[in-house]
């Protein structure tokens, strides 16, 4: 039983990461009907921001500030910088193609992804950058329930992901900006005719999505320690899978999809074998798509003829 709960904790932690990245993915799709394949690379940039903040304050072994303050700076800076990068991406790569055939922004998104990955390679090098989290957050800190261990970083990831998800839900459902985002998602032209500043609304969506990916990147660095220019590809793929399984365009769906994906990976590794993890996880994706093509919480799109 302890093994079950340990794998559950591990799966929920990884799933929370996937969920945060998937949220940004699904928000952009909801508003623009664009699959932003560069979104995973925003996660990668967030990871680098976190790494360089640690180095700025003396490195993991000789920090010059308290750890809680360091974490706040890492998360806030990653959110702001990566959010800003998301806005820039939208302004220069996607806005000019807003009325182009759907394939054009899709190809552009792939191009932006390669651009970000190779820019990081050029600027930061290909060698692994390591957070060395255990040097400033003790491995023995956290909670132990029987033989089930939940360390501090896992607690941080789970709590922060939950808070951000709730905050996003409140923003979308209870604020004017959220109402505007829902209006643009429903019908962009009608929203424009009603006086909504569509450009600002879309830019805000990209900012929020990018910020979430940036925060997820820092979490990923704290959890997995390693940062390279290529980590965005896997993160993006998993986020895309989570968003689609949950129902593309649905915020609760993205969270559910992310958590399901993380837990599925964990249990398959634990109870079957790590050899088959990716195979079975993507089989699960296919199975969900066959049974519910719009995703678990997605709604079938009505097309007027």
């Amino acid at each position: 039983m302890a093994f079950f709960f340990q794998e559950l904790v591990n799966g929920l932690t990884t799933g929370a990461l996937y969920a945060l990245v998937a949220l940004g993915f699904t928000m952009v799709y909801g508003v623009l009907k664009l699959l932003n394949f560069a979104h995973g690379d925003l996660y990668m940039i967030g990871s680098y921001v976190g790494f360089f903040v640690i180095q700025w304050f003396g490195g993991p072994n000789k920090l010059t500030i308290a750890v809680p303050l360091l974490l706040v700076i890492m998360f806030v800076l990653a959110a702001l910088l990566v959010g800003g990068l998301g806005v820039a991406m939208e302004r220069f790569a996607y806005r000019p193609l807003r009325d182009a055939p759907r394939i054009a922004p899709l190809i552009t998104a792939i191009g932006v992804s390669f651009f970000l990955e190779n820019s990081a390679l050029l600027l930061f090098g290909a060698q692994y950058r390591v957070y060395n989290t255990s040097e400033f957050i003790s491995l023995s800190s956290g909670i132990q329930i029987g033989s089930v261990t939940i360390d501090s970083v896992q607690i941080l990831v789970l709590v922060l992901a939950a808070l951000l998800t709730v905050g996003l839900r409140l923003l979308v459902n209870r604020t004017t900006l959220g109402k505007q985002m829902r209006a643009v998602a429903a019908d962009r032209e009608a929203a424009e005719m009603l006086g909504i500043n569509v450009n600002f609304t879309i830019a805000a969506t990209f900012f929020i999505g990018g910020a979430l990916a940036g925060v997820a990147g820092v979490m990923g660095g704290l959890l997995f320690n390693q940062v390279t220019p290529t980590i965005g590809f896997i993160a993006g793929l998993k986020a895309f899978t989570a968003a689609v399984v949950g129902g593309i365009g649905s915020i609760p769906g993205a969270v559910l999809g992310g958590l399901l994906l993380g837990v599925a990976e964990s249990f398959i590794t634990g109870y079957i074998s790590s050899t088959y993890t990716n195979l079975l996880v993507f089989l699960l994706l296919i199975a969900v798509m066959l049974v519910r093509p719009s995703g678990l919480l997605g709604r079938a799109q009505l097309q007027k003829v």
Binding site: N10, T149, N225, S274
Partner: protein, 383 residues
């Protein structure tokens, strides 16, 4: 009048004789040194200079450069090193190899580093008749005769795998162990060599598999049972093993990590109590290597065991080129390949002779075992 003409003729004759004497001394001098012209050639170096194992690749590059400089001075040759960065990636290694094979100045290649890269470039090298010597590719299948121009200055996994497995069985005595491959040729080859030995010894084996791109090992670590006292990681990315070790500690697992030569990375893999085998010895402990070790340390800082085998490989190529020049020939791919096949060094930087068998393996090669102490230092243990 007659007398003046004789003196003039004698003077002219003396001048002509002096001129002829000068020419023959240049030639003679040339003959005495064995080269009538400078011995010029290029060697390609394929190494993961950047990428996931950049520290190892950088070390290989430095030792190749050191060997080239030393041998050029000793042999009065002008060999140059052409670098090719493969990032331990077979696709990139193929691109680099295509560049090298189309460069006629390159008469031999040192590298590539990874077994999966050798598998990718072997046919290209064979087609170009280009000899290539790896200082770190240890998969046993590489020297079954399918790559006739391939050599290695280190021993192979069919030696490493059983040697390590027998040490684990006879010294560590686990009741159960986990062995995780990273889905690359190097790793799966070692697993194939080791698992039968564990099974024959009655050890319960949990064989897992993860991609080299995996960074989250928490779920896999959770599978490590209290009976599992050893986790074998025949991996190439030391940063991954370091993360695995941290996850073991975080989940309070007592298993000891046993890594193979791909994890030999003193700056990156520092989990106390872990074992790491290596195809290269610690050359700072070999008295005959004190000058090279001191020069390497002064010029490049601390180093591990990935550099010296590449030094040995580069030295083999340099000596082959020098011997071709000494025989009066111009270095070409064909004659350098033939010279490498005839290599017979009584001693080398690795503390053992270098002579190749018909498939390119070092005759009587062996592996070395290290244990990581609490300060992260790699200490040699009897294998």
């Amino acid at each position: 009048m007659k007398r003046s003409a004789i003196i003039a003729a004698a003077a002219l004759g003396a001048l002509v004789a002096a001129g002829c004497g000068s020419s023959s001394s240049t030639t003679g001098g040339g003959s005495a040194s064995g080269t009538t012209k400078a011995c010029v050639a290029s060697i390609g170096l394929e190494a993961p200079i950047t990428g996931p194992v950049a520290p190892l690749g950088q070390e290989q590059l430095h030792f190749a450069q050191l060997a080239m400089i030393t041998d050029n001075l000793a042999n009065k040759t002008r060999i140059t090193l052409v670098q090719g960065d493969t990032q331990l990636n077979p696709a990139m290694a193929t691109t680099v190899t295509q560049q090298f094979t189309s460069n006629n100045k390159i008469v031999a290649v040192v590298g590539p580093a990874g077994s999966q890269e050798v598998e990718a470039v072997g046919p290209l090298m064979d087609r170009a008749g280009l000899a290539f010597i790896s200082g770190s590719a240890t998969n046993a299948s590489l020297t079954t005769g399918k790559y006739p121009t391939f050599f290695r200055s280190v021993s192979k996994d069919s030696v490493q795998g059983p040697q390590d497995a027998n040490y684990i069985v006879n010294t560590l005595h686990p009741k159960a162990l986990m062995i995780v491959d990273d889905q690359e040729a190097y790793s799966t080859g070692l697993v194939s060599a080791m698992v039968p030995i564990f099974s024959a010894a009655g050890i319960k084996v949990d064989h897992e598999s993860v991609s080299q791109k995996t960074t989250d090992f928490s779920s896999l670590v959770a599978k490590v049972t209290p009976d599992t006292t050893v986790v074998v990681l025949p991996w190439q990315v030391a940063a991954n093993a370091q993360q695995f070790g941290k996850d073991l500690a975080q989940e309070h697992k007592k298993a000891v990590i046993f890594g193979t030569d791909g994890l030999f990375s003193p700056g990156t893999f520092t989990i106390s109590g872990s074992y790491v085998s290596s195809f290269g010895p610690d050359i700072t402990a070999i008295p005959a290597d004190s000058a090279i070790a001191a020069a390497a340390k002064a010029k490049y800082g601390t180093f591990g065991t990935f550099g010296p085998p590449v030094y040995a490989a580069t030295h083999v190529v340099d000596e082959a080129i020098a011997s071709v020049c000494k025989s009066g020939q111009t270095p070409s791919r064909a004659n350098v390949l033939a010279a490498i096949k005839n290599t017979n060094e009584v001693t080398s930087i690795l503390g053992q002779p270098i002579k190749f068998d018909s498939h390119g393996d070092v005759v009587n090669g062996k592996f070395f075992l290290f244990k990581i102490d609490s300060s992260g230092k790699y200490v040699l243990v009897p294998a």
